[in-house]
Symmetry: C2
Subunit: 143 residues, 2 copies
DNA sequence: TTCCTTGCAAAACTTTTGCATTAAA
DNA sequence: TTTAATGCAAAAGTTTTGCAAGGAA
């Protein structure tokens, strides 16, 4: 019986239920990955997740981390970002939103949808429809 | 003496001058890569460039293609795109513009700046300024 | 000569896959 | 017991690097 004194949105129990609700079997590794990633809006790489899990004593393999992230993304639990080409970033915020990308630190910062307004957008090519809009505002140190 | 009957913007002679103008020594391989890439607005991967060059009889190594693309990008001759995380795409159009990304075919289509208008953008984080805006409109087959 | 560039191969990284073992229902 | 998930290692794909050889100035 685990103490749930600090019952966050991603406490193991909640994560388990959330995975089950998606038809994903809530194995130990999956629940740990979900607890880590879904605890707050954040952007993590597969390697960061693996390192963090192992640092906290979990037994997880690299393959399981990658497979699990792909699985979560396919169920809409997380979102995979292509920001800098060096590696994939996994975003626990799946609500529509955009990003600042700090070129100096590599940091990603969420930009809520209402902070961006398009007064004009091109019509999609014939026979296609818009599936999503990715907006990355690159920022650098001033001066 | 090469016939320049079809004198395009990227005929070898022009490319040579353009490279020299950037302080880049116009070696045979660099001129061939520039001729290929700068002949028209397009999006190519390093592997596509290598294959195309070899198909046309050029002697080029993979390392030289990668090094040359990085060199060109650092001089603003081309632009490197992070669209799908699988590999880098090199865009010969360095004027500001955006992209459609066809999720079915992987194709990239340029969107001219005037076709997009922002009526609201968030202020960059304190101490930073906007260095650029990357907009990718993902499109899929209708219905 | 001197410096820069190239090619090749190997290395480095990220991500995927095959398969025997283990855990979940 | 039956099916699915995990770990490990190896493979695959992209990009970078070390270094000897070649080419330009």
């Amino acid at each position: 019986m685990e103490p749930e004194a600090l019952s966050t949105a991603s406490a193991p129990g909640r994560c388990e239920r959330r995975l089950s609700g998606c038809g994903i079997r809530p194995t130990a590794q999956r629940v740990r990955i979900a607890s880590l990633l879904l605890s707050a809006p954040q952007h993590l790489s597969a390697e960061q997740i693996l390192a963090s899990l192992r640092a906290s004593g979990a037994r997880v393999s690299k393959a399981t981390v990658y497979n699990t992230l792909k699985l979560f993304a396919s169920h809409g639990l997380i979102r995979q970002l292509s920001v800098d080409g060096s590696r994939a970033w996994f975003d626990s915020n799946v609500d529509p939103h955009y990003h600042f990308h700090d070129l100096a630190s590599g940091a990603l910062i969420d930009v809520p949808v209402p902070e961006v307004e398009f007064s004009r957008l091109p019509p999609p090519p014939p026979g296609t429809e818009v599936a999503g809009i990715d907006l990355v505002i690159r920022v650098r140190k001033k001066q």
